[in-house]
C-alpha cells in the first residue's frame, strides 16, 4: 500500500520519519529516494529517534555508512557517491542488510538491484512553495 504525505517544513518531515521509525522491527530495510535537499537525511533523523536511539544523525555521504547503536542498531547508508551495486559489495553491505538492525539507505535508486522486495520505499519530491511530497510504500503507520 502506498500512502502520500505532504510536509511543510523539515520538522514535519522529521516527524513523519519518527512515526516510521517507531513502526520498524529489526531486519527492516528502508529505501529513500529523492533529489538533493529533498529531506532524506532529515527524515532519517526522525526515523532514528523513532527507534528509540538518541544519536546525532548526520549525512553519511562521504563516509558512506553511519552506525547508530541501540537495542536495535540503525545502519545509515548513503549511496550518493556510488556508481552501483558493485561498490556496495566492496564495502560489505550484506552483513548489515541481512543483519539484526534496521537499515536506512539514502539514494537507494543508485543500487536498485540489491534493494529487497520487502523494503519500505520512501520517495521524496520537492513541490512548489518549498513543500515536500513524501510517498511511503510498504510501511504500516
Amino acid at each position: 500500500m502506498t500512502i502520500l504525505h505532504k510536509t511543510k517544513s523539515s520538522a514535519e518531515t522529521a516527524k513523519l520519519g519518527f512515526k516510521i521509525g517507531k513502526s520498524l522491527r529489526s531486519g527492516a530495510i528502508v529505501a529513500l529516494t529523492g533529489d538533493l535537499g529533498a529531506g532524506k537525511t532529515c527524515f532519517t533523523k526522525g526515523l532514528v529517534k523513532g527507534t528509540g536511539i538518541k544519536a546525532a544523525v548526520k549525512s553519511p555521504t562521504f563516509v558512506l555508512l553511519h552506525i547508530y547503536t541501540g537495542k536495535v542498531p540503525v545502519y545509515h547508508y548513503d549511496c550518493y557517491r556510488l556508481k552501483g551495486p558493485a561498490d556496495m559489495e566492496k564495502i560489505g553491505y550484506e552483513e548489515y542488510f541481512y543483519g539484526d538492525g534496521i537499515t536506512v539507505i539514502e539514494w537507494a535508486d543508485r543500487i536498485p538491484e540489491i534493494i529487497p522486495e520487502s523494503a519500505v520505499r520512501v520517495v521524496f519530491r520537492i513541490m512548489p512553495g518549498n513543500l515536500r511530497e513524501i510517498e511511503i510504500e510498504g510501511a504500516s503507520i
Binding site: 535537499g37 555521504t61 560489505g92
Partner: protein, 333 residues
C-alpha cells in the same frame, strides 16, 4: 654524532584513498603517497585504475612499497608503524590496520593507532610551523566538520560539529545542483572568484546558542534561488554560497576562541585547500590578534604523512598498541 631522529610510516585507509607516508622526527616528510594522485606502474606494467580507488586491498602493498621507495628506505629502517583506526568505514580501516600489524609483527617495531582527526589537527606541523597549546582547531572536509579545543596532545574537547551535512559535502552538492561537475569544491571557489557580487544567503544560527553548524538549509536555499527564475548567474550564486559558509566557519571559530581566551587557531582538512577560506581566516585573525596555522593544500586532504606525524607524537610518549587493535568506525576525539 647526534642520534638519528626516528622514522615512522603512517598508513591511512579511512575513506577513499589508500595512502602511506614516511616522516622523520615529526616534521620531515620523506615520502607521502596517495593512491588517487599517482599512477603506480606495477611490476606487471599495469596502472592502478581510478576505478580501484576504493579497493584498498589492491592498493595497500603498492602504496606502502612506493612510500618506502620514494623515501629511499627499507622496512628495516622504520622505528614504528602508525595507522588510522577510526573514524571511517570499517572495511576500509581494517585493510590499513591489518597491513600495519603485519609490518609491526615482522619487523618488530611498535604499532601505533591514530585517530584520523588527530592527523588533520597536527598536519601543519609537517611544514615547519609550530604552535603551542592550547589552541582551537577547525577540521573541515568532505566527511568532517569539527570545532575542537585542544589543551594538549591527546586532550581534546569537541565544541561544535555539523548537525547535517559536512562542509566539503555541501560544497560538492551545491556544485551538483548548479551542474558544475566534480570535485565541486574547487569549481565553486573558482566561479566565486569571478563574481562581481554575491547573492545573500542566511547564515545558520543555532537557536540553542550552541557552536554546532548546519549547512543543509543553505543547500536548499541555493536550490530554491536557482529555481526561483531570478536572473542570476552561477558565479554570484557560488560567491554568495561560499560567503555564507565562510561566515559560519569564521564567526563560530573566532567566538569559541574568544570565549576560551585562546589566541591560536589551527585549520585542517580538505576544505582548507580553499584559498578564500584561509585568506578570510588570516584577515580576521589579524584584526582580532589571533595567530592562524594551516597546512598547504596537498597536506589538507587525507594523507599518510599526517598519520605518521601523529604516530611520531605518540611514539615519543610510548603510546603503543597491542595486536588486538580494532577499527573503530565511530571514533571521536
Amino acid at each position: 654524532m647526534a642520534k638519528p631522529e626516528p622514522v615512522i610510516i603512517g598508513i591511512e585507509t579511512s575513506c577513499d584513498d589508500t595512502s602511506a607516508g614516511i616522516v622523520q622526527g615529526g616534521s620531515k616528510i620523506l615520502s607521502n603517497v596517495v593512491s588517487s594522485q599517482i599512477k603506480i606502474h606495477s611490476e606487471f606494467g599495469g596502472v592502478v585504475p581510478e576505478l580501484a580507488s576504493r579497493s584498498h586491498l589492491e592498493n595497500i602493498y603498492i602504496v606502502v612499497g612506493e612510500a618506502l621507495k620514494q623515501a629511499g628506505l627499507q622496512f628495516e629502517d622504520l622505528y614504528g608503524v602508525a595507522v588510522t583506526y577510526g573514524p571511517g568505514l570499517v572495511g576500509s580501516l581494517l585493510v590499513g590496520i591489518e597491513a600495519a600489524k603485519a609490518i609491526s609483527y615482522v619487523y618488530k617495531i611498535p604499532l601505533i593507532g591514530v585517530n584520523h582527526l588527530e592527523g588533520h589537527i597536527f598536519s601543519s606541523l609537517l611544514e615547519g610551523q609550530s604552535f603551542k597549546f592550547p589552541f582551537i582547531a577547525l577540521i573541515v572536509s568532505g566527511g568532517h566538520t569539527e570545532l575542537v579545543k585542544v589543551s594538549g596532545f591527546g586532550e581534546y574537547s569537541i565544541i561544535g560539529q555539523t548537525r547535517d551535512d559536512a562542509v566539503g559535502e555541501v560544497f560538492d552538492k551545491v556544485a551538483k545542483l548548479l551542474d558544475l561537475g566534480y570535485p565541486g569544491g574547487p569549481k565553486v571557489e573558482k566561479l566565486a572568484n569571478l563574481a562581481t557580487f554575491g547573492v545573500k544567503f542566511p547564515e545558520a544560527v543555532m537557536k540553542d546558542g550552541s557552536f554546532d553548524f548546519s549547512f543543509s538549509g543553505l543547500k536548499t536555499a541555493v536550490r530554491n534561488f536557482k529555481n526561483s527564475g531570478k536572473n542570476t548567474d552561477n558565479n554570484s550564486l557560488c560567491a554568495g554560497f561560499q560567503d555564507a559558509v565562510i561566515a559560519a566557519l569564521l564567526n563560530k571559530t573566532f567566538a569559541v576562541a574568544a570565549k576560551n581566551r585562546i589566541k591560536r587557531i589551527v585549520l585542517g582538512g580538505g576544505v582548507i585547500a580553499n584559498k578564500t577560506i584561509c585568506a578570510e581566516f588570516v584577515k580576521r585573525g589579524k584584526k582580532e590578534g589571533i595567530e592562524l596555522f594551516f597546512p598547504s593544500s596537498k597536506l589538507c586532504t587525507d594523507n599518510g604523512a599526517m598519520i605518521a606525524l601523529a604516530g611520531y607524537l605518540k611514539y615519543q610518549r610510548k603510546e603503543f598498541c597491542d595486536y588486538d587493535l580494532n577499527a573503530d568506525p565511530g571514533l571521536t576525539l
